[in-house]
Symmetry: C2
Subunit: 398 residues, 2 copies
């Protein structure tokens, strides 16, 4: 057969992570590879009660077609969530509900990117963002980062040089970097957006997952104090990392004109996000169960993060370098090659699988200039005993 496919497919390949995941079926393997939350943390009873309440109180709305913009009671609950995180003066009509925050990225790509347009992302960044934007024909430019996130001076230079359609950042506990963009840099980036009239997309799925102190305010929360910046800021949020990824609920906050165009595109992407999921989540939030669930997740992930950091330090010593995360789900590790030890993440990934532990090598997270000495370890899904055993296996593989 001779189907001729769209030329946009030439810009992407199937995810390297996906290929790796096929190996994870191997029995007994300890995986630090996933980007998943721990299913044992899900508040199943809370979701059950919420789903039942939705079907009792609003069965028509929960099961019928709904507005493309989202189910109004859920939009109102999201405004409440955002207010609790310092985002004031947000109204429900300034956000739309998306089918996971992945769809928010897809809608931003669809509305903003023409073939050949440039976008800037952090190096490293979320793999699916790179691929999503490339499918719309973007040339994806990688901005340098350090342990405080993206480097503003370097970013501004790239913006001036490339005139990108948008800059995509995960400022808080980034995937895969785990790092926190400093408050000072957050302010600089908002000012830069205004100065260059360039859209900045803040992806914030992990901001709730802090361990001790809350992170600095999101770019969105901070935008009130940087005049004009709200006109150049889009913000993606998610219910996936704490409540449940299976509900597929995210949201997009953006300037009105852009948001309207995203709604138009969403009409033809999936018409609207599952109203059953939205009504369930709205009931869950209304029932006030989120704070307790969040506390439980924070405490658990904090302990696992510590266990993994301790293990890396004690068992891999000078072979690795990393910043101990203050939140999120990931440790981003650099192989130092000290004393002739393995310095290539891809090579180590293969040897690690043989030893019964899996992680994602860092290369695919870079849109340009991949640093092959990096790897991403997730501490979210394995319990402490398995984290310790997994790190021991990693040490053996090294």
């Amino acid at each position: 057969m001779t189907l001729r496919f769209a030329s946009r497919l030439d810009n992407v390949e199937t995810s390297a992570i996906r290929e790796l995941f096929k190996l994870l079926g191997k029995p007994g393997i300890i995986s630090f590879a996933g980007g998943f939350p721990d299913a044992a943390m899900f508040d199943v009873e809370g979701v059950r009660e919420a789903a039942n309440a939705a079907l009792t109180e609003e069965p028509g709305a929960a099961l019928q077609y709904g507005a493309t913009e989202g189910y109004q009671p859920f939009r109102e609950q999201i405004v409440g969530l955002m207010a609790a995180k310092g985002v004031q003066s947000l109204t429900p009509d300034q956000l739309i509900v998306t089918t996971g925050s992945q769809q928010a990225l897809d809608l931003l790509g669809k509305t903003m990117i023409s073939p050949g347009d440039k976008v800037i992302v952090e190096g490293p960044t979320f793999l699916a963002t790179i691929q999503c934007f490339r499918l719309y024909g973007a040339e994806v430019i990688s901005a340098p980062t350090d342990e405080n996130g993206v480097i503003p001076e370097a970013l501004e230079q790239l913006i001036a040089e490339h005139q990108p359609k948008l800059v995509y950042l995960i400022p808080t506990f980034g995937n895969p970097s785990g790092v926190l963009l400093s408050l000072e840099r957050r302010r600089q980036i908002l000012e830069m957006a205004v100065r260059h009239q360039t859209l900045v997309v803040e992806d914030d799925p992990y901001g709730d997952l802090y361990f001790d102190a809350p992170p600095p305010p999101s770019l969105l929360a901070l935008s009130d104090s940087v005049p004009g910046s709200r006109d150049y800021l889009a913000h993606c949020g998610s219910m996936s990392k704490v409540l449940s990824p299976g509900l597929r609920l995210g949201w997009l906050i953006a300037p009105a004109e852009l948001l309207g165009k995203c709604v138009m595109c969403k009409q033809f992407s999936d018409a609207h996000t599952s109203t059953f999921s939205q009504a369930t989540a709205a009931q869950y939030l209304k029932a006030g169960r989120m704070p307790a669930t969040l506390d439980r997740v924070r405490t658990t992930y904090a302990a696992r993060s510590k266990a993994m950091g301790d293990g890396l330090r004690s068992q891999l010593g000078d072979a690795v370098r990393f910043v101990q995360p203050q939140g999120g789900m990931f440790i981003w590790v650099q192989l130092t090659g000290a004393r002739g030890q393995e310095k290539d993440g891809n090579a180590l990934a293969k040897r690690a699988i043989e030893q019964g532990v899996a992680f994602v090598p860092g290369t695919p997270f870079f849109a340009q200039n991949p640093d092959a000495s990096t790897l991403r370890l997730s501490f979210a899904t394995a319990d402490i005993a398995r984290i310790e055993e997994g790190i021991a296996r990693l040490a053996k593989a090294l």
Copy 2:
């Protein structure tokens, strides 16, 4: 602010239907405008039991990230549904679950259509298909139809002339036409697909909604008897018209290479469809509740269709011409202009709203050469008394 949007947005406008829908808030209006099923038909208790069973038996799977291809038990249930409709030898890996069948269209657009490519649709056809494909840069060509569906000779001529990337058809109780493509024509179209090596997309959300006799086999069911045709056939199915649109569940069956590319694109569109919705639907189908629900819907819609047809004949007489539907949700009406009566569907729509009844004028359903004398009436949501009253108001408006 000065955001520069993607050029693909220049190909579409916000749906005319959407603008019309804003008027439907007027109190007391009887609406034949929606494409919605009747929410009163939803088996709310069945969905509740299914959701609870999903959360009891498989809470991890129902709430966690899932495979982009779909939740395996739901894929297996879909194979069962299709087998009951005469589709033999289908396996779960030959289909993927989509976020409503709208997403199947979006994925077909994303994988198949480069800017400037041509696609052929029926004139008239589903409005959101036209817009969806245009967003990917398609030039949408309209093929002529009659009371037996698309006219094969005319379609073949257009295929030869335009070399389209795909031909999109709703062969069974089409939206908006309500008509049934004849068996003979179905076979001709499959042969044509093979002869011209052209992908045919069969959208089949309404096939289950027959009133008396089942419709002819779907193109998919028929493809077993037309050698080679399966290689050029994609089929979109939906849970939205009977079980619930709010679950946002559809599926796509397509040749392996195309299906693989759709999976890759879906990864970056929404990662996967709500596993909570999928697990709920899988439990619902497993519980065997679908046949009774379907019977109830068929009986109700058959009576409403008859009431609307009778009303049109008795109250509007020679001012209208239409084919009495044998299934589906719509009557497609042509204004004849007899005895100097209104012949313009758009003008009538405005006058009808003033009289307290709404419908969608036919113009937006045409990708080319709109027939302004047409209108689409849905008989699905209003009960018989309101249908009779609505038709009386329509007569008054005329």
